[in-house]
């Protein structure tokens, strides 16, 4: 990457800024001109189907893999020319960074603290501090092999937090955890953000991005295909819609007329399900108007409501496939 001059000016005020990152594995373009802007102090979700390039992006940004072309800055440090400085400013946890399973939690943190060049005495104090912060004090002197999945991920997070990094990369931090473990990790992530750390989170779980992320970038086939807040993304693929289900199929036409009156778009009638759906812009007002017209026409309503598309639907419309359709490309090519 050192051979390629930046293709566009990078903004050091951003926590992560990449322009035109390219990574090729044989014939496969894992990253194909990937752009990303992450603002400081936010949680940024990187979403995409398996094989979309999420993991490659994280590996490139954390200095584990070298990009073939493009430019990137992490917390103001240039990825191409100053990898050591990048490493001082980042933390990495999740799929591809782990802790030693033979050592105890405390020994792990002390080891990593020493390798982060804190010196032995401070590595020890920092270990104690982090064990407490991540609620691992009771298990501190047990071997990590005996930890639960959630505990292990929290230790993993703690190990990445030793220098209180400016940018934290969490690569699928909750994959394979039970609901309780996920909740534990989410709590830890929120605590990180509370301390001012910027978090870049990759996930396959849309509800996780919805819960945690301030902004989301959608990646597919190595490129950014959408970027915005979760609400913006949902709005972009169609805002709210009103759904009316009638009790008597004979009244479907009356319901259709009631719906048509509140929208510039024509309603869709789903006869087998006795349902009428119409996209609307002004949500609450439209709902009230539809309700009033239905009452006026004497339509017996089984259900009426305002629905928002889920991130799952957003994803499906943006990429044309669901999140879990493709085989893990990174695994196959590494």
């Amino acid at each position: 990457m050192d051979n390629h001059p930046p293709v566009a000016p990078l903004d050091p005020a951003l926590a992560v800024h990449t322009v035109g990152l390219v990574k090729r594995y044989g014939q496969v373009m894992a990253l194909d001109g990937f752009d990303l802007s992450v603002r400081r102090g936010t949680v940024h979700g990187l979403l995409g189907p398996n094989g979309a390039g999420k993991t490659t992006a994280v590996r490139v940004l954390t200095t584990l893999t070298e990009a073939d072309a493009g430019a990137a800055q992490i917390a103001g440090a240039d990825l191409g020319s100053d990898r050591l400085e990048v490493r001082r400013r980042i933390g990495l946890a999740g799929q591809y960074a782990a802790v030693d399973e033979v050592l105890t939690g405390r020994q792990n943190l002390e080891l990593f603290g020493r390798l982060f060049h804190l010196g032995r005495p401070r590595a020890r104090t920092r270990a104690t501090e982090l064990l407490e912060q991540f609620a691992l004090t009771d298990a501190a002197d047990k071997g990590v092999g005996a930890y639960s999945g959630g505990m292990r991920r929290r230790l993993d997070l703690a190990a990445s937090m030793i220098l209180a990094p400016q940018v934290m990369f969490l690569d699928e931090p909750t994959t394979g955890l039970d609901p309780r473990g996920r909740a534990e990790v989410w709590e830890a992530v929120r605590a990180l953000v509370g301390q001012g750390t910027t978090v870049l989170l990759t996930t396959q779980y849309l509800d996780e991005a919805d819960q945690l992320a301030d902004r989301i970038t959608v990646i597919d086939q190595g490129r950014q295909i959408a970027d915005g807040t979760p609400a913006e993304l949902k709005r972009a693929v169609g805002g709210a819609q009103i759904e009316v289900t009638v009790a008597d199929p004979a009244q479907l036409d009356a319901a259709e007329a009631a719906c048509a009156a509140v929208s510039t778009l024509s309603p869709l009638v789903d006869r087998p399900r006795r349902r009428v759906v119409v996209p609307v812009e002004e949500q609450l007002g439209s709902l009230a108007a539809v309700a009033a017209r239905l009452a006026e026409a004497g339509v017996a309503v089984e259900d009426v409501g305002l629905r928002r598309p889920t991130l799952d639907e957003v994803f499906l419309r943006l990429t044309g496939h669901r999140t879990d359709e493709e085989p893990e490309l990174e695994e196959a090519t590494r």
Binding site: R114, F116, A164
Partner: protein, 272 residues
């Protein structure tokens, strides 16, 4: 946040040593945490030597009425060193598989320490291995007839062989996919250790096999230390058997010269 988190400022050379030492410390903790590991690792050499000495021993005649136990014990030392590269390879592939290597690589530590720490840690482990099997050999009745210096030099030659094989271990460990495939390396390790002068003199093997055995680095070390310990050597007249002392140094130096750069290169290429 109460602790000052500013990393210490020291020279690159300082960190190359300090970080390597931290990695060695990690390996030493393994011995404290899992003291039985050492016995598992030594299991094969110990069992096979007991087998040869006590089961086949009475049928073994290496010529000249020499004591087979005194011949086989240095062989066991050399074999333990030869199999040692399996431990290195296994540890390396385990770290890679579990993501520990990636964590090290994402940290601002001296990059060389991952490889050098493994090297020196394994060398310390090998010294511990030698202590254990030498104790077993003493119990069985083996004695060194050489001077103190000759004896120490012999153990030094053993560690030199192990040191050279560390780089092959790292090279292979970084090359295999996972711990399961690492087990297949046994298919390489077994003939490497056995087609040698470890248990039988090469002169008693069929011609071509004997030829391989005489040139095997493990044989050179086994024969050299037998000479230094004053144990029966049972060598033929071939050049490598007559110059075992020289080869016991040359082979490890040559292996290190080839595989140390290869291992480092393969480590660096993890970023591809």
């Amino acid at each position: 946040m109460t602790t000052d988190l500013q990393p210490l400022r020291r020279s690159t050379a300082y960190w190359a040593v300090a970080d390597a030492w931290s990695m060695v410390w990690r390996q030493l903790l393994y011995y404290v945490r899992q003291p039985t590991t050492i016995l598992w690792q030594l299991g094969f050499p110990i069992v096979s030597v007991l087998l040869f000495v006590y089961v086949f021993g009475s049928a073994m005649d290496i010529g000249g009425g020499a004591d087979y136990t005194a011949f086989a014990m240095p062989g066991m030392f050399a074999m333990t060193m030869a199999f040692g590269f399996m431990n290195t390879a296994y540890a390396v592939v385990l770290d890679k598989e579990k993501g520990v290597t990636d964590r090290f690589r994402s940290m601002p530590m001296a990059p060389s320490a991952v490889v050098s720490g493994r090297g020196f840690g394994d060398l310390l482990g090998a010294a511990l291995d030698l202590l254990v099997i030498a104790a077993i050999a003493l119990v069985i009745g083996w004695r060194s007839q050489g001077s103190l210096w000759e004896t120490l030099y012999a153990f030094g030659l053993l560690l030199l062989l192990r040191f050279a094989l560390i780089w092959i271990g790292i090279y292979l460990g970084l090359g295999v996919k996972n711990t399961e495939t690492a087990g297949n390396l046994f298919a390489v390790a077994f003939p490497f250790a056995m087609i040698s002068s470890v248990f039988t003199p090469p002169s008693m093997m069929p011609g071509w096999l004997g030829f391989l055995a005489t040139w095997n680095p493990v044989s050179a070390t086994a024969t050299a230390i037998r000479e230094l310990f004053g144990n029966p050597v049972a060598v033929g007249s071939s050049w490598p058997e007559q110059n075992a002392q020289l080869l016991a140094v040359l082979w490890p130096v040559l292996i290190t010269a080839v595989f140390l750069p290869l291992a480092v290169r393969r480590y660096q290429r993890l970023s591809r």
